[in-house]
Symmetry: D2
Subunit: 382 residues, 4 copies
Amino acid sequence: MSGRVDLVARVRRFVERHCIPLESKAHVHDPAALDAALAQLRPVARELGLYLPQMPVEQGGLGLSWVERAAVFEEAGRSYLGPAALNCAAPDQPNMISLLRQGTPEQQRRYLRPLAEGRMRSCFAMTEPAPGAGSDPSMLCTTARREGGGWVIDGHKWFITGAVGAAFCIVLAQTGEGPTQFIVDMDNPGLECVRAIRAIDPYAVGGHGELRFTACRVAADAVLGEVGRGFVYAQQRLEPARLSHCLRLMGRARRALEAAQAYVRERSSFGDRLADLQQIQAMVADCHIDLHASRLMSLDCARRMDEGLAVKTESAMTKVFVSEALNRIADRAAQMCGALGMSEDDSPVALILRELRPFRIYDGASELHRATLGRRFLSSKT
Amino acid sequence: MSGRVDLVARVRRFVERHCIPLESKAHVHDPAALDAALAQLRPVARELGLYLPQMPVEQGGLGLSWVERAAVFEEAGRSYLGPAALNCAAPDQPNMISLLRQGTPEQQRRYLRPLAEGRMRSCFAMTEPAPGAGSDPSMLCTTARREGGGWVIDGHKWFITGAVGAAFCIVLAQTGEGPTQFIVDMDNPGLECVRAIRAIDPYAVGGHGELRFTACRVAADAVLGEVGRGFVYAQQRLEPARLSHCLRLMGRARRALEAAQAYVRERSSFGDRLADLQQIQAMVADCHIDLHASRLMSLDCARRMDEGLAVKTESAMTKVFVSEALNRIADRAAQMCGALGMSEDDSPVALILRELRPFRIYDGASELHRATLGRRFLSSKT
Amino acid sequence: MSGRVDLVARVRRFVERHCIPLESKAHVHDPAALDAALAQLRPVARELGLYLPQMPVEQGGLGLSWVERAAVFEEAGRSYLGPAALNCAAPDQPNMISLLRQGTPEQQRRYLRPLAEGRMRSCFAMTEPAPGAGSDPSMLCTTARREGGGWVIDGHKWFITGAVGAAFCIVLAQTGEGPTQFIVDMDNPGLECVRAIRAIDPYAVGGHGELRFTACRVAADAVLGEVGRGFVYAQQRLEPARLSHCLRLMGRARRALEAAQAYVRERSSFGDRLADLQQIQAMVADCHIDLHASRLMSLDCARRMDEGLAVKTESAMTKVFVSEALNRIADRAAQMCGALGMSEDDSPVALILRELRPFRIYDGASELHRATLGRRFLSSKT
Amino acid sequence: MSGRVDLVARVRRFVERHCIPLESKAHVHDPAALDAALAQLRPVARELGLYLPQMPVEQGGLGLSWVERAAVFEEAGRSYLGPAALNCAAPDQPNMISLLRQGTPEQQRRYLRPLAEGRMRSCFAMTEPAPGAGSDPSMLCTTARREGGGWVIDGHKWFITGAVGAAFCIVLAQTGEGPTQFIVDMDNPGLECVRAIRAIDPYAVGGHGELRFTACRVAADAVLGEVGRGFVYAQQRLEPARLSHCLRLMGRARRALEAAQAYVRERSSFGDRLADLQQIQAMVADCHIDLHASRLMSLDCARRMDEGLAVKTESAMTKVFVSEALNRIADRAAQMCGALGMSEDDSPVALILRELRPFRIYDGASELHRATLGRRFLSSKT
């Protein structure tokens, strides 16, 4: 256990000494600049024994349980460079899990190993623009039909985080036998990355791509897992992915809070130090209460996952609460910083505000989870 | 552990079979009627092995740890009769702890034993009307001066829960040597229970009394604990008392939610079953999320207390969050029930709403805790 | 105009000198005690020229326009006795309007005149317990069938405000020709007031009755308005009724705020006067902002009604906003008063909190209005 | 009046046909690109008779009263290009008012006329970084001392909206005789625009500059108004400036709402059109309620200003309410649009969200106004 505690302290130190000093507004909406920063940070992380905390030891990881990951992910998340520097950021992190679970040995050799070693990046192509699959996967419009011994994929995807500069994508497409996962190399001539969508969150590694599959041919061995089980895999992917987001983004919100606290300790107005004003004190208290509750809900999920228990309901409740709570924290932090909190050059707070906003939408909007949860509670007898 | 789980199920059964059927609007603001109900319920609780869960075995209790108490208190709390039926309700529960810790053997014989056995009730007299001690104990106006071998107490107290029908009170008074706790028999001629305050919460066992101490003489052995250490004892009392409130009142809020869920499952409006409407589903989801977070925060406090860790900060954060969350739950439950939720005769919800409202004020208003917490976080370097 | 300003000042004086001194906890859930207080107050109001402000001069009223009524109703509403003392309280006020618009000369002679003169009270029986008409009038289960030259009414109503001690009710019942309004004398042998429902709001004049119509025979001239147009009349009744509620209850919320302001100006804690604490200042500011917005929205509705414009949408928006805002005000007022705010004996605040709570449900729950408004905005092209 | 109504329709048409088609992500943080767009739009606005609505006719304006301006500003505000295209955007709009009121004929000739004609832009330099004047003007650190016949200004300003590309600034500096306004040409060698601050709001005309005054010499006639009355002028400037912001930004929030409404009318998920889901309907309703209340509060201020009444309190209440309400509207609009609402390329919503965020801080943070308002209400006897 003391090794784990020490690990958290070492991650914190790594973030303070290596990641934060490298943070730069030049990274905003610039995947290449981000990749360059990561290329600098990952060797350091590896040398310090912090790399790949979530993967099994045999894959080169630290083999941490979910509970152990919790504090590590939160500490890494204080910098937007931290999780990717440790190679525990989305979408590579869940893609590695998918390849580990559903990949053939050959797929693992070709895709999992270089991902784990940080030699390539990847993306996961599920979301489609209207009228395709947004939060409702059953509206999937992308298709794959068998032809020759292989498949031909046609379709349109967007908000595909990590697409710019990725080596391959895992794409979800409808087949005659049901939704299916395929691995497609990004340089496949039938796959075009139309553009990088400029989203409100400024720092996505690999941006948010819009992809078009046009008569995109792949071989039979491009299928990941079993044909027709694509939704099942997507579901399995979702719960750990959500929890990982919660953990990492708690670090981001905490960073904003730390910046706000430092500011109000120094700044005065109308004869009072801001930290001595009750409204500021109340905002600080509410931030810590939100953070405390977020942490406990996330830890509870982590514990259940380590114990192999179902977390369908807990994970959805946690996602809703944490995403809303972290946005409240960042909003209060910005408010406490006044004009400084609105400058993207002079404080990390404004950009954290932008970074956290989509979390209330991505991975299922809060409203969707509330409706689903409500129906579930109302149909059970609890 | 399975014995503990079983215990929770047995408490639940006791509440369903014995407490809820005895609930009656005749108990509203009628301490005598409440006492009569308890006299009926306590022997059953004792027989079923559910009595005094929080006290050590040697005092006739079940010797539960804080973590073990958590689910038991919540289940008991589903009925307003439950906690008192098990003799784990305030103010007797914290008074027993004070007597256990600070009482002389003789005080324990005279006061603790009959309290534990349910043969008498007690109260704790700290709060004073303006300009005395409300949330700020340093404003204590009640005094005790040495005279003869004993003490003479003068002062004015109000919102003294449990006062009506109590056999004794523990009163906090200022002495030349500092604030001090005294045990005063309620039939002391210098102590008058001026009235029972009709507060918004309808079911306080023993009501909320207003007490006047006029040249109230007590012997030297009326001092509980050491002279001058009254505030220290009051502080020690506070944290477990808060947590116990959180646990019991979670049961009350859950009861309101259960009633609302049952109603919306049956009731239709404009062609839809209420349970099929998204706004209702979202309210139900938010209630469960609030309850889940409340439970995890309370359990975390309980675990820390069992481990002997400090909970000063956690207990205050928990009190603020849980009191606000439970009020949101009851409010949503009432709203879901429509007119039915406004009737105090036809559903438990309206009275639960009234019962929970003061929890945001008693034991320190949310605003007070927020200011204190904020200052603490801002003066530390976290 | 100066006469109108003066009128508001005179209403304020009447409330301060006559109504508030008569307020008493003995009125809680005691319609007879309330009636006795009104019997004392109405002659004074009449003598002071304040009586019946909303009725035409030819009916003995002051003939105020809606805009003129606004400030008068708000001032009257500061005391729970005020509106009824001026005979501008629900349900008599909207019943007078219905009788004025739809009543035959004979019905006006028999029912409107004594109502206006304050010689009798009335009620309006629409709401039914599940599975009948709650917020959805189309679920109306009460029926009226023609028999002999008259009608026979059967059905079950509840939450019929004003029923206890009323001389007659206007009841909505389904007929073969559509929903229809009937005037039924309360002493009709086929009509039983089963009980007064103890609702969370403590001061309803005439309480909230549960009525049972069992083969209740009425003559042909009991029909109010045209057969089959009951819903149209109920709709017409609703918009002015809602606005009147908003106006009167703003006075109640303001009363709570005044009490809280007076308290925090005097009370100190931890070395500060409460009024000097920023959290208190922010609560006070938010109360005034809520009140200001509520007033402007109500006045805008009043102006539109005076100009004969449609207020379907504005009236619903106003009802939602004002009911939620007034509840926030009362809640903050209670919170500012601490324990005092929880005592129903020592401050008006706790009972105002109870009085205002149902306003978010009665006359259409906020959720219902939101869904209807949302649909309307989404189907229009605005 | 019909001319005014027609004016609003014409502004709406201008915005639809000319401004919105010119909107481009190339304008984000690019003052030069914005200026180019304005150079294209202003002649059209002038030709259509929509230019300079707020200025007196003798200054080439339309001479609208505040009430008349309200709807015009809101319509113009639907596009971020609208208000500047009509030359009624901050900071030029309030600067023109200052020059009109306090300027000498020569100052008006040199600065007001070209501003009004759109031949130059200006800025207002008050805010300073810590420890200077933020929300508290008394902390003013910039100084001006008399030397020769003129003045020498030294100081540091930031968040000076409009600075990039401005021809002159009005700067507030401390003198021995009190705070004083000076007009300084931006090409003064003692004045450097250090940088444009990249703030969260993307479209400020002229950006947000950081300015450094180093031994900046100006002639005696650079003083605007009287020496020592700078704060009085700044105060006078504030109230109309706030109201103008409210009016313009209501248009922005409405634009976001319109986009969201259009989206949910088309988009389906899980078998339902989003517009048919109650949670969406409730969000739409709450947006319209917030907008309705914001409009009425702004109009009330406008009316008072037209009547020459004080609006100190009303203007602060309006600023707090409207800034918070508009942020709620934009946030709900983004949430309704899902992933689309997060794209800055595919919908205006995400950028409107960023644009509105600072409004809760600029012109006095909500917390500051709440404290000030609370104190004012608590010290008066209302």
